[in-house]
């Protein structure tokens, strides 16, 4: 053996470096241009739309329903002849409840499958994991879940309520009916904390006070230390931003600790029909939920939506739910955006870009922002805010009955403005082109 180990290693590394250095045009090539130039919707193809949810893993409990209702919505649209006669082709991927997979699959949907928009995800973590990808490719993401706001990105449309819309009605209602003292319990991450900041703002106006505040880890199921403090503070009601499995444990242990929902109810932002079914009706009964949608909303559009969905092959879950309805709205709003984009390009499918769909969803051509009328949306009229691309909606308060369904006890009189920076006015105002700061500068992609 003539070649020594050292020369061998040096040689290999040098060779690799040489290969890399010898072809600078390869690694410096700008892919973006070549890729951006291809059409997103082919003249003779379908309209591809990505569905980025988890069908396996712990998030699948919620996201399976999201997938099903999106496919249901696509079926409805295709049943009407698609968008301007062109069929919609959903591309469904499984994110496996893994942040790494969300990010990989988002890349796949944009770059390999060349979907014109993507709908998806249920958690802030997965949204934030995929957003850099959407910003990089100037693409478009529809996020259907309630979230904390404080973001101003140019590649997303949100169809779920913001923190300022949720507690707007709920807090005065609870203070008026049960009393001023409130105990805040939440899962330990940003959305509950941000929501509770809003709660405190409304509480101050309604003359209430916070007697305690606790956050437990996501997935945590031990609430006895919390209830120990609750018992000591004797609040009039509990404000819960606990999500997922923990939410069920919270309500079950509330019962076992001997509390009564008529004496000290829990007002929640996420405890809907699915959660109530999972915790048992006796654990859910008497508590309150603020949401834009309930399965029992008494209007013909909703009744048709519930019947059609539960009767379709997608409706195996047996309930409809605020998050599902927001997902459903997202697909309908997206379809309207594509219609407008087609009008904008004068019928040229190939000229439509993801970003164009977003731009025309705002205040375009004097037609006002994209929205859904009372005849289209199960929760009633909604529309996209032309500046910050969140959704205008009417929050409603429901009280859970002993059958696990909610009775609407209050509906907002007017639509509520979605304000992502409601408690940070000093940060600026979110407009279509970015965050307009008080000093006059505009910052794009505030994440």
């Amino acid at each position: 053996m003539k070649i020594s180990r050292r020369t061998f290693v040096t040689g290999t590394v040098a060779a690799a470096a040489g290969v890399a250095a010898g072809f600078p045009h390869i690694y410096m090539k700008d892919f973006g241009q070549a890729w951006g130039a291809k059409p997103w919707i082919k003249k003779d193809g379908n309209i591809k739309v990505g569905m980025l949810w988890s069908q396996t893993g712990n998030l699948s409990v919620v996201e399976n329903d999201s997938t099903q209702v999106s496919l249901f919505a696509v079926d409805i649209l295709n049943g009407r002849g698609g968008i301007a006669g062109k069929e919609i082709e959903p591309v469904v991927v499984d994110a496996k409840s893994d942040i790494k997979v969300y990010s990989e699959k988002a890349t796949q949907l944009i770059l390999r499958d060349r979907c014109v928009s993507v709908h998806g995800s249920y958690t802030s973590a997965s949204r934030r994991a995929v957003m850099p990808i959407f910003m990089k490719w100037d693409h478009l993401y529809y996020y259907p879940t309630c979230y904390e706001g404080r973001e101003c990105m140019q590649n997303i449309i949100n169809t779920g309520p913001l923190a300022n819309q949720h507690s707007f009605d709920l807090v005065p209602y609870m203070v008026k009916n049960f009393g001023p003292k409130v105990y805040l319990v939440g899962s330990n991450y940003i959305w509950p904390k941000e929501s509770n900041k809003n709660v405190k703002v409304w509480l101050e106006r309604a003359g209430g006070e916070v007697v305690g505040e606790d956050y437990i880890p996501l997935g945590g199921s031990e609430f006895s230390p919390v209830f120990n403090k609750v018992r000591q503070q004797e609040p009039d009601w509990i404000m819960s931003t606990v999500v997922g499995d923990s939410d069920i444990a919270l309500h079950r242990q509330f019962l076992q600790e001997g509390f009564k929902s008529d004496k000290m109810p829990i007002a929640a932002l996420t405890t809907g029909e699915i959660e109530t079914a999972a915790m048992g009706n006796e654990a859910g009964a008497g508590h309150f939920l603020s949401a834009p949608y309930f399965q029992t909303l008494p209007n013909p559009v909703n009744e048709k939506f519930v019947n059609d969905y539960l009767g379709s092959k997608y409706g195996g879950g047996g309930v409809t739910h605020y998050n599902m309805e927001e997902t459903y709205l997202g697909i309908l709003i997206w379809a309207k955006g594509v219609e407008r984009a087609l009008e904008h390009t004068g019928g040229d499918w190939e000229a439509i870009t993801p970003r164009m769909i977003r731009d025309v969803s705002g205040n375009w051509n004097g037609q006002g922002p994209v929205g859904l009328s009372d005849e289209e949306s199960p929760e009633g009229k909604v529309w996209i805010d032309p500046d910050n691309f969140n959704i205008w909606l009417k929050p409603k308060i429901g009280q859970c009955g002993s059958d696990g369904q909610f009775t609407i006890v209050k509906e907002a009189d007017e639509h509520v403005f979605p304000d992502p920076f409601s408690i940070y006015p000093e940060r600026g105002v979110c407009k279509a082109d970015g965050l307009h700061k008080p000093d006059g500068t505009v910052q794009k992609d505030v994440l």
């Binding site: 053996m1 180990r5 061998f8 290693v9 290999t12 590394v13 060779a15 690799a16 290969v19 890399a20 072809f23 390869i26 690694y27 410096m28 090539k29 700008d30 892919f31 973006g32 070549a34 890729w35 069908q55 396996t56 499984d94 496996k96 942040i99 790494k100 990010s103 990989e104 890349t107 796949q108 770059l111 390999r112 802030s124 973590a125 934030r128 994991a129 957003m131 850099p132 990808i133 910003m135 990089k136 404080r150 973001e151 330990n188 991450y189 940003i190 959305w191 904390k193 941000e194 900041k197 880890p217 996501l218 940070y424 700061k437 000093d439 500068t441 910052q443 992609d445 505030v446 994440l447």
Partner: protein, 368 residues
Amino acid sequence: MRRVNLYHDKRAQWAVYVVFFGILAIIPLSMDDPFTMNQYSRYGVFAMLALSVSLVWGFGGILSLGQGIAFGMAAYGMGATMQMQYQDPVNDPIPSFMLTNELEVLPTIWEPFWHTHLGLILAIGIPVLFFVIFGILMFQARIAGAFVAIMTLAMLGAWYNMAYDMQPYTAGFNGISPPSAFVAFGVEVDPYSNLIYWVSLGVLCVLTLATKALLQTKFGTIVQAIRDDPERARFLGYNVAYYQIVLFALAGLIAALAGLVWVMITQFVSPTSLDIFFSITMVIWAAVGGRMSLFGAIFGAMFINAAQSYVGDEFQATWFIILGAVFIIVVRFAPKGLAGLFEYVFGFIPYRVRGTSGARGDAHSASE
């Protein structure tokens, strides 16, 4: 003339590495696909993690379930560095997520990340330093076997909780997503370019070859001797703890570099990088590929992840069952993984070497 297994021939091993990395290096020449480049770069990171597991477990006999600690720490360091590249010192000095937690000024521990070089040094230095300290703590006390596994697991859990809870500094569960790509020396490392692929593959290649070379030195031999019988090595006068600490720290260094590259590719870091499940998955990759072979571990990581990307969707719900079952079968019947299979097959190839060099090769790397 002596008959030996071609598998143990060092020249053949090096040849395999050269061919392997050579082929990987020319892949971008035939491709113009940002998705594939991005995806393959991710596989490169997973391969680095499997490499670190192979080094510490396959060659050092230390089953660390805490490689995610180094990975996650470096990922947070890199995330902070990239975030601060995006922030503006005058107009916008504080990352947006900190506002939720009522931070008026940038916390001191974030200050160094204004400087990219310092940020990179910290991102690598802190995890390695932590692994040295943690290694001293464990190996000085002669803790071994399952106890190391449990202690690394507990430590990983502690850091996971910490990243989760220190929301003013880490954004908690939501994670940090730097909005723009990493810029180093005036070059933007676009996560969808050939460049990112070269970076990922380059780091993997250098780490692998360096590890391979290291294992063929005296240090490598001693480490393997300790793996086989720590007591005997101690009686022979070797400072067992010293070798174990160095090995543990080196594995931490590899995992840290993986974390660094990972955030360059994904522009996102959250507590999931410190997830227990993730750290054990790295062990699966190495075990399936063959923990006693660096090449096997790398191949295992790439193979399983490619299968998850391309086969996973067809099998949907059964993917984890398949993964678990494969893992059980490998552990039960083929503890040396795929590489062991190759070793077995290669044993049938008639191959002879002259004189002492073959014999030396045999004695040196009986396990590879």
